[in-house]
């Protein structure tokens, strides 16, 4: 997958991604997406919705902190962001991403600049910065998350397997 980096700072909360004042729009996603990440950077949503470019959300530390609102991850996915990169993710947001089939990769995002063209090899966990001719390695995706992602999300996973059944490879510490 490829895309243009859109950089965000530390501590992007789910309140900044999906503001409480648009709470009522949770049942109206086509409207809600117009406000995705609005309180972090109001230019992001219009650019992502223009559709002429694919953007990769590049956060820093503690991306997705705060409220459990899954709509935050869903809004980012809804504007065709194929992957989210950050130095670290808040726990619930991280789970939510994989549950809805949106990969989240952990790496030092410092060398990536706003607007850099990125190419991502999910298999290898490799991020190629085509603008800067650099390659970065992401932390390994935990096997359980890989399994969920492979099926396209947790609902699809359970539908296929009829239950939550993880084999030993996944479960080991």
């Amino acid at each position: 997958m490829r895309g243009t980096a859109w950089k965000f700072g530390d501590n992007i909360s789910t309140d900044l991604i999906a503001p409480g004042r648009y709470y009522h729009l949770r049942s109206n996603m086509p409207e809600f997406v117009k406000h995705v990440l609005e309180d972090a950077d109001e230019k992001f949503a219009p650019a992502a919705l223009a559709g002429d470019k694919t953007y990769i959300v590049v956060g820093s530390r503690n991306f997705g902190q705060g409220s459990s609102r899954e709509v935050a991850a869903r809004l980012i996915k809804a504007v065709n962001v194929p992957v989210v990169l950050a130095k670290s993710f808040a726990r619930i947001f991280y789970r939510n991403c994989f549950n809805i089939g949106l990969p989240a990769l952990i790496l030092d995002t410092e060398p990536i600049q706003h607007g850099d063209e990125l190419g991502i090899d999910m298999e290898k966990g490799e991020i190629r910065n085509l603008t800067r001719k650099e390659t970065y390695q992401s932390g390994a995706i935990p096997p359980v998350m890989q399994t969920i992602l492979k099926e396209g999300g947790i609902v699809e996973y359970v539908k296929k397997h009829g239950d939550l059944v993880f084999d030993n490879k996944i479960s080991r510490a």
Binding site: L16, R21, S68, I154
Partner: protein, 420 residues
């Protein structure tokens, strides 16, 4: 092997010894959603099951706390969705005004050793009653509600050893802000934050829930207190004495680290905009002379009886400053009733405060108490992110209820110890 509380509870549930880092699939005793997260959970359950379904309806709790009473039709429709799901499945609705899910769970449902999954980040609050309770998204809640189980990564544990006694005017909110300051906003990431030590016996259940709710602000999966005499009395008080069991970590359990805290050394603290980890002493912040437009006391962190009692210590016989509005929202019907009985509500009304119906109130910034541009709020709640209380152009400071009350009287941020 000696075990931490988190390891012990999960081991009991899955019937073997679990170790940090491994993935286990555990039965879930309670699944909880609220008016903002429930509708999506139901959509996912329908996607999975083709119909409304709850594995154990009497243990599926749907709370209408974030937006009740509803200010607009689309939000009313979320609430209707919760009531309809309850009608088709038998799941339990806690309707408008009953209170915040995290208070209701501790009062009416959860017991020590239970496993709880809630589609609300502060589900860790129930850890105050020694339950393995953690927040997840709507889809995870759908899995838990429809299958009666969930996968968990067994967390590493940080142990907090509490010593000494809190000075007068210093409360468990100050203690948890101190902890946040010490370990940082990611200091608890993926971990269980467990509490012990001689000082615990002095901390009321209300004080403990304040701390377990804010485990979330340190990124933690769990905030856990042992089940002891106070837990027993709490359960008896709520007519659920039969649910009590003693539960504590084993001596010699292995912790990622142990942090000792001397309670005597603490003083009133605040978190300044826009992060809960931006901690300063109230003494310092007071010097800045920040004028405050709104004070709010309530939420799953500070909406309990002890919080209202602390508020009343300051507001009794005093008046809220004429340029400040003071909103006080009991976290549940039960808290409301007890506060009425103790005469606290009368004290608040006499002081010129506004008392609202139980629920989240202004905290999520949806239906009441929304701040104006440039306004400042001191809130006895858990988050002060930009945009919290509904306006990214406003400023929220976090404090204990007594610090918030002192601020309401002064009209400026105030150290509460001058009011004792």
């Amino acid at each position: 092997m000696p075990m931490t509380l988190a390891e012990k509870i999960l081991s009991q549930k899955v019937g073997r010894e679990v170790k940090p880092g491994e993935i286990v699939i555990s039965p879930v005793d309670w699944t909880v959603v609220q008016d903002g997260t429930g509708p999506l959970t139901f959509d996912m359950i329908r996607a999975l099951k083709g119909k409304d379904f709850a594995h154990n309806p009497s243990h599926a709790i749907l709370t209408i706390d974030h937006t009740g009473p509803s200010p607009r039709a689309d939000l009313s429709n979320f609430q209707v969705a919760l009531r309809k799901f309850s009608e088709t499945t038998g799941a339990i609705v806690e309707d408008v005004g009953q209170g915040i899910s995290h208070l209701l769970l501790a009062e009416r449902y959860v017991g020590p050793g239970d496993v709880v999954v809630g589609a609300d980040s502060h589900t860790s609050t129930a850890g105050g009653i020694a339950a393995f309770a953690t927040g997840m998204g709507s889809t995870d809640a759908a899995i838990a509600m429809s299958l009666g189980k969930m996968w968990f990564r067994v967390p590493e544990t940080i142990r907090f050893e509490l010593k000494g006694k809190l000075p007068d005017g210093v409360y468990s909110k100050d203690l948890v802000l101190h902890i946040l300051d010490t370990i940082g906003e990611e200091g608890g990431l993926y971990r269980s934050m467990e509490y012990g030590g001689e000082a615990l016996a002095d901390l009321s259940m209300d004080a403990r829930f304040t701390m377990t709710s804010m485990a979330q602000e340190a990124g933690a999966k769990l905030g856990l207190m042992p089940s002891d005499e106070a837990t027993k009395q709490h359960l008896e008080h709520h007519g659920r004495g039969d649910r009590w069991i003693a539960l504590d970590a084993d001596p010699g359990a292995s912790y990622e680290k142990t942090i000792e805290i001397q309670l005597d050394k603490l003083e009133p603290l605040m978190a300044v905009p826009h992060q809960p980890g931006n901690v300063k002493t109230a003494r310092e912040v007071e010097k800045e002379g920040v004028a405050v437009h709104q004070v709010f006391i309530g939420t799953c962190t500070n909406g309990r009886l002890d919080d209202l009692r602390a508020t009343a210590r300051v507001l009794k016989g005093r008046q809220v400053h004429k340029k400040t509005r003071c909103l006080i929202i009991p976290g549940s019907q039960h808290v409301y009733r007890e506060a009425l009985r103790e005469g606290l509500i009368e004290i608040f009304v006499d002081a010129g405060a506004v008392v609202g119906s139980p629920g989240c109130g202004p905290c999520p910034g949806i239906h009441m108490g929304v701040l104006g541009d440039g306004e400042v709020c001191v809130a006895a709640q858990n988050r002060n992110f930009k945009g919290r209380l509904g306006n990214p152009k406003a400023f929220v400071y976090l404090a204990s209820p007594i610090t918030a009350a002192a601020t309401a009287v002064e009209g400026k941020i105030a150290d509460p110890r001058r009011f004792l």
